[in-house]
């Protein structure tokens, strides 16, 4: 009886399946309802669903202006966020996609600017191809700026004629232009990488656009017409860029655990006793990777009453996969015990008793906040504190997608409270009226209880996380 219901049960997989065939608006509504009903929960499923939905939104949306697209994504993001404000990964993904669009738009503006400064319209059709070929670089604004500086600025006031001549020659043979551009971009990587350069280039942008277009554009074309042409061209240009960017994010979500696991051997030595808590796929993969080379012991606290079943399943390797959302490769995860690792399952209450013999605590998390604190399964705080008391290092493994720019001014608002019946069963129904039962799902763990974060980018001190936040999210997107 249960298996057919599970197949039909709404969740991430059913949502993803329906995504292709359903109109966008219906998909948004669908995801919102799934989030509200907690049928999609936990960071990764939420992140995947959000990214896929936004991919669909972006590809289906007809926009004439980048700002319209941004508005649209913001709107969808706000609705998703409002549906489940405690799943911070939704907001994280929305912010990253917004940042992506903004970046592309800026870059495009720069490209326009440079195109404008390069007199002649013929270069424009080349633009999409250039951007298409360009290797995906994180800061794409700076990609073209050296070009402008290197090529145009010196020539700008005086040597317009040779430039035009060169351009005419170039336009005659389009493919060489393309290759020259790309090769230029490649050769210019060194100056591009330094942020100093883009720092300088930014203020230049308007002046360089203004000067040539206004006064001495050799071709002397009316600007407004050009702009209109640009606008129509830009949207065409941006779409594949943005979609490609979102697909990259989706790929990242896919590979994040493997990337994190790659650091495992740097952190686990032989014969360690490692304590972990609840069932986290990231932690499991991390430990499994280490288990290939090293022998150690894992003490696994079971996180009763919310996650103990998942923990039991993880420990025994009988992945029940209660939420079909897990990707299939994860469902067939081998347990640590099969890798020859001794796993000791303990109730949460025994953590303090064992902590004096534990070498390292490795924790998964629900979300990481900008101050280095984390929102993790309930009970984590006590474990982290016990580790601190025993001077045992606490390592948190988490994908960057869980890293949120939210600063926790009000910790309590981040804590979700769950099903009380997990604590107090129906057999105790007589007490339900008299006794107040609480079942928090998450704990806020302050940054000072964590010694190290390992993300897919490497290991970081909690104090460094703000830097990673700054790298991944744009200030204007912090409030979606």
């Amino acid at each position: 009886m249960p298996s057919p219901t599970i197949v039909a049960s709404p969740g991430l997989s059913s949502f993803l399946k329906s995504l292709k065939s359903t109109p966008v608006e219906a998909s948004i509504e669908h995801l919102i309802s799934l989030l509200k009903r907690r049928q999609i929960r936990n960071s990764r499923p939420c992140a995947v669903a959000t990214a896929q939905l936004l991919l669909r939104v972006v590809s289906a949306f007809r926009w004439t202006d980048v700002s319209r697209l941004i508005e649209r994504i913001q709107l969808v993001g706000q609705r998703l966020q409002a549906a489940q404000p405690r799943e911070l990964s939704i907001g994280n993904i929305v912010r990253r996609i917004l940042g992506l669009v903004r970046e592309e738009a800026e870059e495009d503006r720069d490209a326009d600017a440079s195109a404008l400064s390069e007199p002649g319209t013929d270069s424009q059709p080349g633009t999409p191809r250039i951007s298409g070929v360009r290797p995906p670089l994180s800061s794409s604004i700076s990609t073209l700026s050296p070009l402008r500086h290197g090529a145009i600025e010196p020539l700008d006031p005086t040597v317009a004629e040779p430039d035009t001549a060169k351009f005419v020659a170039d336009s005659a043979q389009r493919p060489p232009l393309l290759t020259s551009h790309t090769s230029y971009a490649a050769s210019a990587t060194a100056p591009m990488a330094t942020s100093m350069f883009s720092l300088l280039s930014h203020p230049e942008t308007p002046s360089s656009t203004a000067t040539p277009s206004g006064t001495q554009s050799p071709s002397g074309r009316p600007t407004s017409a050009t702009q209109a042409v640009f606008a129509s061209l830009t949207q065409k240009d941006l779409r594949p860029e943005v979609i490609g960017g979102i697909e990259e994010i989706i790929d990242e979500l896919d590979q994040v655990d493997e990337q994190i696991a790659g650091y495992a051997l740097d952190h686990i030595h032989s014969n360690e006793i490692i304590l972990t808590h609840t069932s986290s796929m990231t932690v499991q993969k991390f430990l499994l990777t280490a288990a290939r080379k090293r022998k150690f012991t894992v003490v696994h606290a079971e996180a009763y009453p919310n996650d103990h079943e998942a923990t039991h399943a993880t420990v025994t390797g009988k992945m029940v996969n209660e939420n079909q959302d897990e990707l299939s490769s994860e469902a067939f995860q081998k347990p640590l015990t099969a890798a020859g690792i001794t796993v000791i399952l303990i109730p949460d209450s025994a953590v303090f008793a064992l902590m004096s013999r534990v070498n390292k605590v490795i924790l998964g998390t629900h979300a990481v906040l900008a101050n280095g604190g984390l929102v993790a399964a309930a009970g984590t705080r006590a474990i982290a504190k016990a580790a601190k008391t025993h001077k045992t290092p606490v390592v948190v493994v988490s994908g960057v997608y869980k890293l949120s720019p939210v600063y926790p001014f009000d910790f309590e608002s981040l804590i979700e409270f769950g099903d009380v019946s997990k604590v107090f069963s129906y057999e105790d129904g007589d007490l339900v009226e008299k006794v107040d039962v609480e079942n928090p799902l998450f704990d806020y763990v302050p940054a000072e209880l964590v010694d190290l974060y390992i993300t897919n980018l490497g290991g970081h001190a909690p104090s460094y996380l703000y830097r990673i936040v700054a790298d991944h999210y744009r200030v204007e997107d912090i409030n979606i």
Partner: protein, 533 residues
Amino acid sequence: MADTNPQNPTAGAELSPAPAKDQKSPKADTKQAQPKPNGTEVTATGPNGEKLSGAELKKRAKAEKAARREREKADRQGPGGGVPHSGGQDKAGNQKPGKPWQKVEVQQHKDDSVAGSKGHHKRTTSTAAADHQKNLALRGKGAQGGAQAAAKPPKDANQVSLFGHLYGQSRRTTLAGVGKDVHPAVLALGLQMSNYVICGSNARCIATLLALKRVIESYTTPPGHSLSRHLTSHHLSPQIDYLVSCRPMSVSMGNAIRWLKLEISKVDPDTPENEAKEDLCDSIDNFIRERITVADQVIATSAGGKIQNGDVVLTYAKSSIVQQTLIEAHKRGVQFRVIVIDSKPLFEGKHLARALATAGLEVQYSLMHAVSHAIKDATKVFLGAHAMMSNGRLYSRVGTAIVAMTANEFDVPVIVCCESVKFTEKVALDSIVSNEVAPPDELISPLPLTHTATTTTTTTATATPDQTGAATAGEAQGVKGSPLSTWRETDNLLLLNIMYDVTPAEYIKMVITEYGSLPPSSVPVVHRLSTNS
């Protein structure tokens, strides 16, 4: 049995000689009767198709038999002659099919007759062969150690090596094999303790003393012995051994029994027996009254006075003295709220929450995972104790240390309520050197109360009674029973269920005893005071 094993190779391929040799000295005439069961055994192993040499075969048979005999021995000491018989059959039924089936069966068949004949009462069915086997079995008793050693390795595989020193013999859960001189009251108490029906340091202490009182009441000094010499060593120690085999003694029980032994030794040999027994019973009653009942009242009054209007008192698991304190304060009309934190697998806090709610207190109930949330509201933490160590550390239900640590972190004072009978001169630094390892299966199958709520009535109906809440919940989800149900078969997977932990003294702000309120550093002083008085 062990001494017969070396003889096996010399005995050759024929199976019968070894057991025969075993009983050679007691009864030579029964030797001829012996081959009969063994003959069937040989034919039974034949069809099994195992290509084993006779000696090997015999060795294995011996090992199995030895193991069975050990259980048989346990059965033999059971109350009736018939009980062991059926017990033996049960064992056969439970035998794992991984072993050669038929051999087991046949052997069982043989052993059943052993069991039957081994009862305290000679049964009419005892043939010469059975008679002989009884002697054999009795001889085998000396070799139990060897049999145990043979049975050990698989058990060790499921032990956490860090706690290897704490795995004694597994806890007794049945009456099978209990010595005949164990008093029925003690028998019942042992089972109740083993099943946590009587649980908690005080309850166990009182119940033990009451049971021992009844033992003393029913005791008659054998002629030629004096009560003070005979009672302790010959009559009380089997009772105590039995209790310990049900569950390791609590510190309070240890203290009480030590006191009782001292009392008995102080009995003047000239005192008439009845009088001496009456005196002893009186002093037991006095002990319970003074050291526990009245002490509890004193502590409850004193600790209750610490609770003020608007307080939020957090407590962990269940302590009778904390319960009394809270109810006492409530009766005084103090307005306060109680947060009960509880944990797997015993869920003792649920009983406390129930009792307090029934008494009309405002109660909040959460599990261990919520402690960091609950502590934010709390203004005081009251804890019970299993024991207070001489170095000021608190030895109490596992999880107490986390609660105390969290309270300390949030600057909430931790107050321990503890009778001086729970003080011990022992010291502890961590929770690993001394602890009690409870059967790990309790973690998989928590008490029926704890059925997770995902269990719907329909699934419960389909679930077999022994399935746990987790199992039925899992069933609701689909494939599994509890994935842990087969943990013993999973290599490298261990379950650890320890009962106690040690809370560092620095987390404890105050210990309230019947001698007054003191810092944890004063525990050894009070301990000396209370034992010398």
